[in-house]
Amino acid sequence: MPAVTETREAVEKLAKSSYEWGFETDIEMDIAPKGLNEDTVRLISERKREPAWMLEWRLKAFRSWLEMKEPDWAKLKHPPIDYQDAHYFAQPKKKPGPKSLDEVDPELLRTYAKLGIPLHEQALLAGVEPAEGERLPVAVDAVFDSVSVATTFRKTLEEAGVIFCPISDAIREHPDLVKQYLGSVVPVADNFFAALNSAVFTDGSFVYVPKGVRCPMELSTYFRINARNTGQFERTLIIVEERASVSYLEGCTAPQRDENQLHAAVVELIAMDDASIKYSTVQNWYPGDDEGRGGIYNFVTKRGICRGARSKISWTQVETGSAITWKYPSCVLAGEGSIGEFYSVAVTNNHQQADTGTKMIHLAPNTRSTIIAKTISAGHSDSTYRGLVRMQPKARNARNFTQCDSLLIGDQCGAHTVPYIESRNMTARVEHEATTSKISEDQLFYCRSRGLSQEDAVGLIVNGFCREVLKELPMEFAVEAQKLLQISLEGSVG
């Protein structure tokens, strides 16, 4: 099996190459002492200048968390996490309100440059408007460690009536909206990691799209873990009113680390009648070295609710990073005729472990969901698709289609599929199919006989394998995702 051998070599080589985006930025930090207790929660709330109700909310979450146990059902192995051995708050020290580019810490700007945010951020931070006829750019809410340092495009969005800001600002400036919706999809005691996040989240994005507004640009948050030993607890809340729509992009890279870093984000999406939310993620947290040491632990709760009739929530994710991924972006289809979608590519290599999938909860009639999950395992990694499709008694004529395909590269990895199908309505229809295989020798031979090099052939086949998912990504991300796949798997073939 020369192809497999070569691919394996490629993968091994890659493992040895250092993490491309593993740089660290040296910026002054305001760091809370290590440890987690009520005082930590109070400190975070105080630093964020939050109203009293928010503190109460956090404390409630913290108290529930104390009584909860870390979930152990996922197919993941890691040393116990010491929740007291981390900083829960890190804030870059900055002068209040940079008025111009000159006032922005030059180190920060260099970090943006290295992050390679593919847009005009530098100029935009300086307030340069795009030229007439130019394609509408992406708005970036750059989260630098735990605090959103700069938010671009706020004005253009404001004109459209769209609110896009750091969640800590939203708590102060739009308390009614936050109060109404925060925790409405993922309650504070939903699960261990969601409770932890609710208690100590430091930042994240808030999006509100009013009735009938089609968000004029794609919204994007680039965030990265930066300070040593600070857990990253992002909280994102997106509310889209009747007939409105938004496309939200989330992507991340993280510097190389020796210690495991905890990441427990919560994302809540709410779609009203005829609203549509597209949430795309490219996840490339540091996966650890070739022994699996030092990677990010990524425990994420993402859930959207289609509250309104004919609303739609679509999750697309490309997961290539993290030592451990625990993530199940889900849709609660509560509105009649609402639609949930989940498109996922998960690549694991070396000693990475991923347990990821989705839940589609059909509550209302005529709801539809589609799940396309592609898993690629290489090296010593283990990758699990874990999904739930549930048809509740009222889900008349609901439909689900699920397809899970796994590709194994090398004989030391594992690929697992654990779908749960529960139906309580006879008119609901569920279809599930899953396959596991390696790269077919026939396909390789076909490509090779037409003059493609081994690495191009593998690249082509892997990209083809993921095509159904990649085509769902917004263009900017599709490019980045393909690049990531190459880096993760066949970047140094030959």
């Binding site: 004989d411 697992h416 749960y420 006879m426 279809e431 599930h432 899953a434």
Partner: protein, 398 residues
């Protein structure tokens, strides 16, 4: 139904049952009876079992045994071996020529499987046989009969087929009253042996059935099984099979027909532990009234099991608004050069198909019957033995 913990139920009945079993099982003493929080029993609550003080039963006489057996269709030919309320009914039992009775032997305790643990704690009696090398032992009907109230039996069977041997086993389960049948089979198929295991589970509507079938399949051997799971208040047919040497072949097929308030469960673990093996599984479930169906099928492929070909299909047909299906087809794969797939569908009868039949003058009820029959017959085709297939068909539509 909520996942109530055993600890929360302090009925004397439960205590008595658990104590009786736990006295002889350290595992059971430690964990008690699984609640729905235990993943393997997530969809199949054992609460009803814990509400009864199960007693050991008095043996059945030959006449009652015969009466019970006549409730289902069983082969007229071949040999018949009967257990009535957990004891051998000697006057009605015989074994094919060349089949040797052996002593029971120690078995893998299968400590993570409750049905095996319970059987390990309370098991006694059973049929231990050996089919010698290259002998075709023909057809054996093993009937497990129950009659009584609040009785439980925990039979232990052991079937060893030596190299090149073959046997067809018709495994009939029927009874009257309220009872728990918890049989365990340990089946060992040596090189080139072939066992056809056709089971008809037609327990009484208040009965519980927790069967565990542990099968080891050696090279070029074949375990070809088919189960019609169609009775009991709570009934699980659980198969744990290991493909232990190259070119082993396993079929774990079945049909579940669930009505009333019953719950039928087919749980299987197909473990590919050697290269070049094949496994095939088709399970179809038809549900009506407020019935619940469970399918949990796992295919595990070890790192050494290269060139594995595993296929699994499970389909459920819901005929009523209140019926429920829970299905969990699972793949756990550690070898890269494999071809494994599974498919699952859940739905009602196809309106277009109904329309087609009705437009040709078939009354609705009849049209439905035709479609349900077609759905099930498709799976029954997998029973290789034609005579046994006919018997199951009779069982299905009686």
């Amino acid at each position: 139904m909520s996942g109530q913990s055993v600890a929360g139920q302090t009925s004397a009945a439960l205590d008595a049952f658990v104590e009786r079993a736990a006295a002889r099982s350290t595992v059971l003493a430690g964990t008690g009876i699984p609640t729905r929080r235990v993943e393997a029993w997530r969809y199949t609550p054992l609460r009803s079992i814990t509400e009864i003080v199960w007693k050991e039963a008095a043996p059945l006489d030959a006449a009652s045994a015969k009466n019970l057996l006549d409730k289902i269709a069983y082969p007229a030919n071949g040999h018949l071996f009967i257990f009535g309320n957990g004891r051998e009914v000697t006057s009605l039992s015989s074994l094919p020529e060349n089949v040797l009775r052996t002593d029971a032997e120690a078995v893998d305790p299968l400590e993570d499987r409750f049905s095996a643990v319970l059987n390990g704690a309370l098991g006694r009696d059973g049929l231990s046989i050996r089919v010698p090398k290259n002998v075709d032992a023909g057809l054996l009907t093993l009937a497990t009969l129950h009659q009584g109230s609040a009785i439980s039996t925990h039979l232990r069977h052991r079937i060893v087929l030596e190299e090149g041997a073959s046997l067809t086993l018709f495994d009939a389960n029927v009874g009257e009253g309220e009872y728990l049948s918890n049989p365990r089979f340990d089946i060992i198929l040596a090189e080139g042996a072939r066992l056809r295991h056709v089971k008809h589970q037609s327990e009484a509507e208040n009965a519980a059935h927790l069967a565990i079938i542990n099968v080891e399949v050696q090279g070029n051997a074949e375990y070809d099984s088919f189960t019609l799971n169609g009775g009991g208040a709570v009934a699980r047919h659980e198969v744990v099979t290991t493909l232990a040497a190259p070119h082993a072949l396993v079929h774990v097929n079945g049909v579940q027909v669930v009505n009333g308030t019953r719950l039928n469960d087919l749980t299987s673990m197909i473990h590919h532990a050697a290269p070049d093996c094949n496994s095939r599984q088709t399970v179809k479930t038809v549900l009506s009234d407020t019935a619940q169906g469970v399918f949990q099928g796992k295919i595990l492929v070890d790192r050494v099991a290269q060139k594995t070909d595993g296929y699994q299909m499970n389909q459920a047909l819901l005929l009523s608004e209140k019926a429920q299906i829970n299905s969990k087809p699972e793949l756990e794969i550690y070898a890269d050069d494999v071809k494994c797939s599974h498919g699952a569908t859940v739905g009602a009868l196809d309106d277009e198909q109904l329309f087609y039949l009705r437009s040709r003058g078939v009354p609705e009820a009849e049209a439905r019957d035709i479609l349900v029959t077609a759905f099930l017959t498709d799976a029954l085709e997998l029973v290789a033995d034609e005579a046994l297939r006919e018997l199951l068909l009779k069982g299905l539509f009686s």
